[in-house]
């Protein structure tokens, strides 16, 4: 039992950090620009594909650096040459624009790499057991995922707290107009934040690509969960996004490893549901089977009882 808890917790943290790497960028972009970027998970997917492609050419380590930078550059271009012009037409136009962009990316990926999952295996250089726990080895690449996520956040945190640019971005989160009136180039800040957010999603794609499945639908699969994270955490709150990421990461990982159903719980209380009861089939569903539902269940519950999310301060 302790073994299951430890490994689930470790895997949950790794998954939670991955979710946070994608959702922090999304919530940052939303806070600053008011844009709910539906193409954000596409940047995650691009990160995975780019790192695979670059990895086959020049190896994993250069890919780890180049792929996120490339995705960041694409993000910057999207803001500068796309969103900035759409912005004048209002939020609905912006959302439609990012929606279209998500499809554009998905179709492009299919054209280049095909419909089937690509063989984005864990690179040999990081595919070895890192340590033994309860006689089971824990893979090095997951340790690396954790280290990269934590390192990246420490770096960004310091950059936000200690640099002048970080100061300007933090100010623009609440009063972008005033930041402009004080003489700071806000549109340039928008491009930069879009680039940083995209690069973060790209980096998550690099390290998540081989842990998950690299396929054209991976953006569509991750996107909704990232939205759940952002809404549950509270739109615009980075800390909220962190808590929600960890919460969903850990809960979902635990749920997958729980092979129990409602029937088992009822049995503890000596309630027996006969097998010809209509309720039996529902109650027999294992928690592991229902795991994918959990984030959305959380979303619905949060929206009913705490519409601004855990730490949200402003309305959508």
């Amino acid at each position: 039992m302790l073994e299951i808890i430890t490994f689930s917790l470790l895997n949950g943290v790794v998954y939670g950090l991955l979710l946070f790497m994608v959702s922090s960028g999304l919530t940052l972009i939303f806070s600053l620009m008011g844009v709910l970027n539906f193409a954000h998970a596409s940047m995650f997917m691009l990160g995975a594909y780019f790192s695979y492609q670059i990895g086959t050419w020049i190896g994993f380590w250069p890919a780890l650096v180049i792929a996120p930078l490339l995705v960041g550059a694409i993000g910057a271009a999207v803001e500068r040459y796309g969103l900035r012009h759409v912005h004048k037409q209002g939020h609905v136009a912006e959302i439609l624009f990012t929606f279209g962009l998500a499809y554009l990316v998905a179709e492009s990926v299919i054209m280049i790499w095909g419909r089937n999952p690509i063989e984005n295996r864990v690179p040999a250089v990081i595919d070895f057991p890192a340590f033994l726990l309860f006689g089971t080895s824990y893979p090095a690449y997951k340790v690396l995922m954790m280290a990269i996520s934590v390192g990246m956040f420490a770096f960004l945190y310091l950059a936000f707290r200690r640099t002048r640019l970080g100061l300007i971005i933090r100010a623009a989160l609440t009063h972008p107009e005033m930041v402009g009136a004080l003489g700071h180039d806000v549109p340039r800040i928008f491009v930069l934040v879009f680039a940083i957010g995209s690069a973060l999603a790209g980096l998550a794609g690099v390290i998540g690509g081989f842990a998950l499945l690299t396929e054209p639908s991976m953006a569509a699969a991750l996107g909704p969960i990232v939205f759940v994270v952002v809404v549950v955490g509270g739109l615009g709150s980075i800390t909220g996004a962190f808590i929600a990421s960890m919460l969903i990461g850990i809960i979902q990982t635990f749920a997958v490893s729980l092979d129990y159903s409602l029937l088992d719980l009822l049995r503890v209380f000596h309630v027996v549901v006969s097998s010809d009861s209509a309720f039996h089939e529902v109650a027999a569903v294992k928690i592991a089977q229902a795991a994918p539902l959990i984030p959305y269940l959380l979303l619905v519950v949060i929206l009913i009882f705490r519409p601004r999310g855990l730490l949200g301060r402003r309305d959508a």
């Binding site: 989160l173 107009e177 005033m178 009136a181 003489g183 700071h184 549109p187």
Partner: protein, 234 residues
């Protein structure tokens, strides 16, 4: 220094500014008066490039209409908004540092330093590391003005600086505005209340229904009961 010529602005279909023209000279204190909804705030937002408009705005002889707010600020035009726009999560010191327009700010050549602010308002020094959001209304008003001054503007436009302040704090704002003027900065002050505007301004404009309806010296406005009755008194 600032010349506004036939300025028009719209919010949706409503015609907010209907050909506003006025000017502010070098080192001059000018008041823009009028009731709520007369278009005073819109006028200075428009000058700052925050509202789209038609018409010409010249600052130091150059056209600034149609250019971006940060560019306008960099040419030496300062703006203090009515809602104060204090960055609530940033400390008082960080709020002030944001007033600097670049890292290569030359403190010796600037008319204002962090030290000036702290000397004028010891309370802000005491709370330098507290978040801006916890300050009282009066403290926030001083902070927002000083923040704009940090960028060393040649003309500062202040929107309703005494609104909602106790008489003692209004006096403090008045002293600060006079100090600003003493250092050679021109001031355009938007007010609803007559008292402070008449006390410190050299010239006064009155706005009504998106137009300038009166221009003259404070004494002339004081003497002109008809204008005061029709356009100012509630």
């Amino acid at each position: 220094m600032l010349e506004v010529d036939a300025l028009h602005a719209y919010y949706g279909k409503s015609h907010i500014l209907q050909g506003v023209s006025f000017r502010v000279g070098e080192r001059e204190i000018v008041s823009l008066l009028g009731r709520n909804g007369a278009g005073r705030s819109t006028t200075i937002k428009t000058i700052m490039g925050l509202v789209q408009s038609q018409g010409a705005v010249r600052f130091k002889g150059q056209r600034i209409d149609g250019i971006k707010p940060h560019d306008i600020a960099r040419r030496g035009l300062g703006y203090v908004p009515e809602d104060r726009a204090i960055f609530p999560d940033l400390t008082v010191r960080e709020n002030l540092m944001l007033g600097l327009k670049s890292r290569r700010h030359n403190e010796r050549r600037s008319r204002w330093s962090l030290e000036d602010t702290f000397t004028l308002f010891p309370l802000l020094r005491e709370r330098a590391d507290a978040p801006g959001g916890v300050l009282s209304g009066g403290e926030q008003q001083m902070l927002t003005i000083c923040r704009t001054l940090m960028g060393d503007p040649d003309l500062v436009m202040v929107d309703e600086p005494t609104e909602g302040l106790a008489p003692k704090l209004v006096e403090l704002v008045r002293e600060l505005l006079l100090e600003i003027a003493k250092r050679g900065v021109a001031i355009l002050i938007v007010e609803q209340k007559l008292a402070i505007a008449l006390a410190i301004a050299q010239r006064v404009y009155v706005m009504g229904h998106g137009r300038i309806v009166f221009e003259g010296a404070p004494e002339a406005l004081r003497a002109n009961e008809a204008v005061r009755k029709e356009w100012l008194e509630v």
